[in-house]
């Protein structure tokens, strides 16, 4: 497959992937392909993929349905939870509409309590995610993954074999490796691709349902980017920013654009759509594939884990590998776990890594766009 389109058009296509796949979702439904709606990077995709199901992210990124959600939920709750619930309640999200089953996990308090109400609109299965990463936790999480398999088998009246799971693990790993090859491009100085474009590809790829086709598509893009980069004349180094913290879905424009408009470049995302959910692979050769899957997902360095050493481990590694000059920690309003962790992250970034750190608390509205621009500009001036 030769990609004839120019890079900006390709990036735009990824940016619009979510919307464009509404129709694909309908076509899949017409073909009776099961669709599982999920909210979180903890969902073990491989189990659903093994039975040929399509997994689609339901995390909502718009404040459009928040007023409706606030009729039922407290106002001082994270915008991601309110927005997601609002879309479910108002039935405005086509993916929610097409999903046969919703699977959540007991991650943060806000989400797990919201799932209790979500069952009023759709069948919901909640996986019990431990809040530590101990060996006991691994035993529980593995049993939850096996239980998920059984729930899916019952709900969709099918059987999922180990062979199918192993194949799904391989395909998902290949997708992760390809995405990593792409988001690792900014290891080059200066970066050959803007942070906004990386973000759009990472986010957009979750709405490309033919997982087998992703590596080839991504590699073609990488080739093109590298070719353009070689021909580029201006190779001035710009301040290099790593973004960490909450999912960026509803605030990507406000944060990433603000950083890049100030003459810096976002070279790495540690958030849910970035390295946090992509970097680590499932051990394909493990004797016990369920345990391998459980281990891989339990290792995710989310702030809902206590303690949360993997976030620091990954951050430290990324700061070094991407020659990061400063870290921006994005907190969605009322996300207590990430907000509490800002102190730990600031200490780590300032003291151990010796580079500047800034945390920004924001929501899906545009009310603080001006202030964020000023703060980003001042932060970049500091570098």
């Amino acid at each position: 497959m030769e990609i004839k389109k120019e890079l900006p058009a390709i990036f735009e296509e990824f940016a619009q992937a979510r919307r464009n796949s509404f129709i694909t979702a309908k076509e899949l439904k017409d073909k009776d392909i099961p669709m599982v709606g999920v909210f979180c990077t903890y969902f073990p995709n491989e189990i659903a993929n093994a039975m040929g199901a399509v997994v689609v992210g339901l995390c909502s990124t718009s404040d459009e349905t928040i007023p409706e959600a606030e009729k039922d939920l407290p106002r001082n709750l994270c915008p991601l939870i309110k927005s997601s619930y609002g879309f479910a309640k108002t039935d405005k999200c086509p993916f929610f509409y097409f999903s046969d089953l919703i699977v959540g996990e007991t991650t943060c308090d806000g989400k797990k309590k919201m799932y209790e109400y979500l069952g009023e609109f759709k069948p919901v299965h909640v996986m019990e995610l431990p809040n530590t990463q101990s060996e006991n936790a691994l035993v529980l999480w593995k049993s939850e993954i096996i239980k998920l398999k059984e729930v899916l088998e019952k709900h969709f009246e099918t059987t999922i074999t180990e062979e199918q799971i192993r194949e799904a693990v391989h395909i998902k790993n290949e997708e992760r490796k390809a995405l990593k090859r792409l988001y690792a491009l900014p290891k080059l100085v200066p970066s050959p691709i803007s942070g906004m474009d990386i973000y759009n590809i990472l986010y957009g790829s979750t709405f490309k349902f033919d997982k087998k086709a992703i590596p080839q598509e991504i590699d073609k893009i990488i080739e093109k980017i590298k070719a353009e980069y070689e021909a580029r004349e201006d190779k001035t180094r710009k301040p290099r920013i790593l973004i960490t913290g909450c999912p960026l879905g509803g605030v990507s424009e406000k944060i990433i654009r603000a950083v890049e408009a100030q003459g810096a470049e976002v070279v790495c995302f540690e958030n849910c759509n970035g390295a946090k959910s992509v970097e680590e692979l499932v051990d394909e050769d493990a004797a016990d594939i369920y345990e391998a899957i459980a281990r891989r997902y339990l290792n995710i360095g989310c702030s809902c884990m206590s303690p949360n050493p993997h976030r620091l481990r990954l951050l430290g590694q990324l700061i070094d590998e991407y020659q990061v000059d400063a870290v921006v920690d994005v907190i969605l309003q009322a996300c207590h776990t990430y907000n509490v962790e800002t102190l730990m992250i600031k200490r780590f970034v300032n003291q151990e890594k010796g580079i500047p750190y800034m945390s920004i608390e924001t929501d899906y509205s545009t009310a603080d766009a001006g202030q964020i621009n000023t703060r980003m500009a001042a932060f970049v001036e500091m570098l």
Partner: protein, 254 residues
């Protein structure tokens, strides 16, 4: 050669002319509902043939097309404070619509900062609103609270603090006692906020409130660090902008 710094704040627009050694002229005008017009007016009043470089800062920094460079108020305040008081280790600025704390390193570069931009509590606007209820001019605040005993103002929100004060007045509490309570409330909140950064050196207090000794003393009490200010503290942003502008102009001339 002179450099001109213009700081477009939410309440006032300030200008400073710098000759490389001294601030030779300053000017303050109110910011109207048309901040662009306020900047243009100040620019026209202060700009001369001698001006070789113009830096705009503050909320309206994008609104002056004649500016050679736009720098955020964080960087400008830090530079202005270090110019006015070379031993400055941190800046606390209580502005009209936000308050900020800026930490400087030994070379007087910004190393960290915090901005309280979510709410009017702890800003100049808070005291303005409260003084209006007390029917007292902010200009006389030092005499007004002299020898008074502060009452505890507990509300964190400008709107609720207003109703708290109304009920204190209804109870017949002395207006000066209330005013001192308000000053303590602002300074306490600002110092809690400031302590999130590791302040350890002399703190430079800027913004319009810095001209009143009572605010400096109260802030010092809560911060437990030496607090200094300068008669031109309100102009720190504009001064910093002019100093940055002068350095830029020199770099270009080289």
């Amino acid at each position: 050669m002179l450099s001109l710094g213009i700081d477009s704040g939410s309440t006032t627009t300030k200008g400073a002319l710098f000759d490389g050694t001294n601030i030779v002229r300053t000017q303050v005008i109110p910011t109207t509902s048309n901040p662009k017009e306020s900047m243009r007016r100040l620019y026209e009043e202060m700009h001369t043939d001698q001006v070789g470089y113009v830096v705009a800062t503050g909320y309206g920094r994008e609104l002056l097309p004649q500016a050679d460079k736009r720098v955020t108020e964080i960087t400008c305040h830090a530079r202005g404070a270090a110019f006015l008081c070379p031993k400055t280790g941190a800046v606390v600025d209580i502005g009209g619509q936000d308050s900020k704390v800026i930490l400087l390193d030994r070379d007087r570069n910004v190393v960290d900062f915090l901005m309280n931009d979510k709410c009017a509590a702890g800003t100049g606007r808070f005291i303005e609103v409260m003084m209006r209820i007390l029917e007292e001019d902010l200009k006389n605040i030092d005499q007004f609270v002299a020898g008074k005993h502060p009452v505890n103002i507990t509300s964190m929100c400008t709107v609720f603090a207003e109703s708290e004060i109304v009920s204190l007045l209804a109870q017949g509490v002395d207006r000066g006692d209330i005013a001192l309570g308000i000053i303590q409330s602002i300074c306490k909140r600002t110092s809690f906020f400031a302590k999130r950064l590791n302040l350890h050196d002399t703190v430079f207090f800027s913004g319009g409130l810095a001209q009143f000794p009572i605010f400096c003393r109260t802030l010092e009490e809560f911060l437990q660090l030496p607090v200094v200010t300068h008669p031109m503290a309100q102009l720190a942003g504009a001064i910093g902008a002019s100093v940055i502008g002068y350095q830029k102009a020199k770099q270009i001339l080289k």
